[in-house]
Each structure stands twice: as C-alpha cells, then as structure tokens.
Subunit: 221 residues, 2 copies
C-alpha cells in the first residue's frame, strides 16, 4: 500500500509545450484592469480564487495573506474618497505634458467593479515560526504580494479582470475597513469582468511609459 | 488596415477548463526546491525565463526588477558563507523539538544548484515616473517579488526548480555581488533541475508547519 508521499508521487504532473505557450499568453494578457462591466461575480468564484491563491509561496510556510471582501457601501465610499484625494495629490507632482497625460488616465475602476478585495499581510502571524524571515523580514509582505498575483492570474484564466489600486492612503483604508492593527494593507483590488482585453499595459498604450530594456537583461557577476 | 490595437485585439486568447486545471497543478506543484541535480542549464534558458518574468505586473509600469546571474566562485562562496552564518544564528532562536527539527531541515541548495540568481528592485528607477507609488512606496518591491514568482512558475513549467533563499544577510550579499547601491536585494534564487517533485511544501512534509485555515478565508467588511 503506498504511503502518503507515494500517492502524491504517483500524480506528478508534466507540462508540455502547448501548456507553456498558453501560460505565456496568460502572463502577457494579464492586465491591470480599470474598465469593468457591472455584472456580479458569485461569492463561490471569489472563494475558489482565494483557495487557489493560498497555494502561493510563502516564507517559512507562513501563509500570511488575508483576503477581505469589502461590500459595505460606506466603507467602499471611504476607499474611493481616499483614492480621489491621493490621485489629486499625485497630479500635483507633474507638470506640462505629464500633468495633462496623468489627468487623462483612468487609474482605477473602483466605482464599477462589482467586487472590492483588500489583501493584507498578517505581520504578527506565528505560522512558520519565523523561519526564513529573521534577516529579511520583508519576506512576509513579498509572500502576500505573490498571493495577490496568484489570485490575479487565476482570475484572468477565468476571464475575470483585476486592478490593483495603490493610489490611496493605506492608513485611511486600514481605518475605513476596521482591520486588525497587525494586518498590513498590501493591495486593494478591483475585481470584475473587463470591458476589453489587451496584451500591452494601459500605461504603454496611453504613452505614459514603454518597455525598459533593463527588465529583460541578465546581468552577470 | 487594422491599427496596432486592432492587431492585438484580433489575437485575444481565451483559457479553457483544461488549461485552468493544468494551471492549478502548476500552482500546487511549484515548490521551493532545495535538492538539485547538478546538470547545467543553458544561458538561453535563463534568458528566456527572464524575458517571461518581464511580463510581470509592476506599479506604474516601472519594471523595477533586475536579474543578476552569479557565476563567480568567490562571490558564490561569500553568499554560501552568509547563508551558513544566518542559518546558525537562526538555529539559536529555537529550543527543544523545534531546534532539533530546524537543524534537520535542508533549507537551501546553494552548493548543488547550477544557477544562482540574485533578484533586486531598482529603488531609484525613473521608469513609470513614480506613478502609483507615492503613498505606497513598497509597491516597487512587491513588483520585483512578483517578477521572481513569474520566473518561478515559468521555470517549473519547464521542469526547472527554484529555491528562494532568504536565510542570509542581504547587506553581505549586496556587497559580495558589488551591486549598485540603489538595487535592493529581494531574492537570492537557486535554480536547477530538481531531484524530485512534490505537491506539498517541504516544511509541511517535515512536520514544521501545516496549512493555516486563515489563508483560505474570505473575510467580510
């Protein structure tokens, strides 16, 4: 009778060229979405995506991500107000063409997206017994960021778009959501069916920024 | 004649149930690998994986990740020494069963892995013009962490294992690699063909930690 590891070993998957090509398409077409349809997304869909996200890597198997679905209208309004203040402040940093271009960008789909999700890192979790984060404590927030990305990729594979809103005051959002003090806000996500699909980032299409050759370079030491 | 966006739009992919099932297998079987075969990995393979990683999301399209391949024996030895010191220090934090178990864990494959990769975040990049990181400056390091994860998933889909070593002094490693001061070390990766494949994390198999139910919970607000 096979032991547990034997059972696991029997199911080892392999990934073929067809899958890899499709995976590359997923990476290329995963976009930060700011234009959503208002169609609702069922609670079970979000629960399934969070279960998938829980397969993400985490330092010392600490699994520090906490997904918070925000439905309350007053809380959502407070988040939107925080975004609008931060966006107006950010506009003040630019001048000339950049200011005009910044003002023309649609940087969040908070009003249309049917689902709002805050993702936090539990900075006080004892899970994992601190392994691997003694000298690099930020490993905990990196782990939460990777969980956001797993959610994002899995959502896109179901035709669901995700937009990560970072133009907001994380303290204001933390307060608006009455989050536990030890939960650090990593991401505020808009989730919904996108109006359209693109392989190039919106900021590239809008002429804000282009591909940086340093991002594909393999430096040597 | 279709414009550029028209061409892109014509190629919109869809992802079916077969792909999604395989993608879930990839998430489940992507492991932090510490047992490597010594078979070399060609430079073109690593270059291809870094190109794939460059498709990762980044705040304001800043693309701040910098991949550094470390081949120099003296530099590798310095990294291994840093790991060994940090690992010995960490052992001192545990007592009793935890200490015995920690001492028995193999936490890095630095000596066997044919490829060592440092991944940094360029904290001074002007790319993206600061968009999206005014109130959440850590978005830059989250972006680099997601690039590590894209590399990891793409590698696993090619049968290549990745181990993320965080038990080291990032300042010592930064010095050992003569990295530019503005490049913040996010990850030090061991890359190579794994000795075996598993769907459960090594720390779970070793009895160090188990699944945390909070990691699959959808909290409500």
């Amino acid at each position: 009778m096979p032991d547990r590891e034997g059972v696991v070993a029997a199911a080892k998957p392999s990934f073929d060229e067809t899958f890899r090509a499709k995976l590359n398409e997923l990476f290329a077409w995963r976009r930060d979405v700011r234009e959503f349809r208002k169609d609702p997304i069922g609670a079970a869909v979000i629960e399934g995506l969070v279960r998938t996200a829980s397969l993400s890597p985490s330092v010392g198997f600490s699994q520090p991500w906490r997904f918070v679905r925000v439905d309350d209208a007053a809380r959502r309004a407070a988040v939107i107000a925080s975004f609008e203040r931060a966006n107006a402040d950010a506009l003040g940093d630019y001048s000339g063409d950049d200011a005009a271009r910044y003002a023309s960008l649609k940087l969040a789909g908070l009003r249309e997206a049917p689902v709002h999700l805050a993702v936090c890192a539990d900075t006080q979790t004892h899970v994992g017994k601190g392994l691997g984060r003694r000298t690099m404590p930020d490993m905990l927030v990196y782990s939460a960021a990777m969980a956001v990305y797993t959610f994002w990729l899995a959502a896109r594979a179901e035709g669901i778009g995700v937009g990560w809103v970072s133009i907001l005051d994380p303290v204001e959002v933390h307060d608006a959501l009455s989050l536990p003090p030890e939960w650090q806000l990593i991401a505020y996500l808009c989730v919904g069916y996108p109006n359209d699909a693109f392989a190039t980032p919106e900021l590239q299409r809008a002429g804000w920024e282009s591909r940086d050759p340093r991002a594909t370079e393999v430096y040597r030491r």
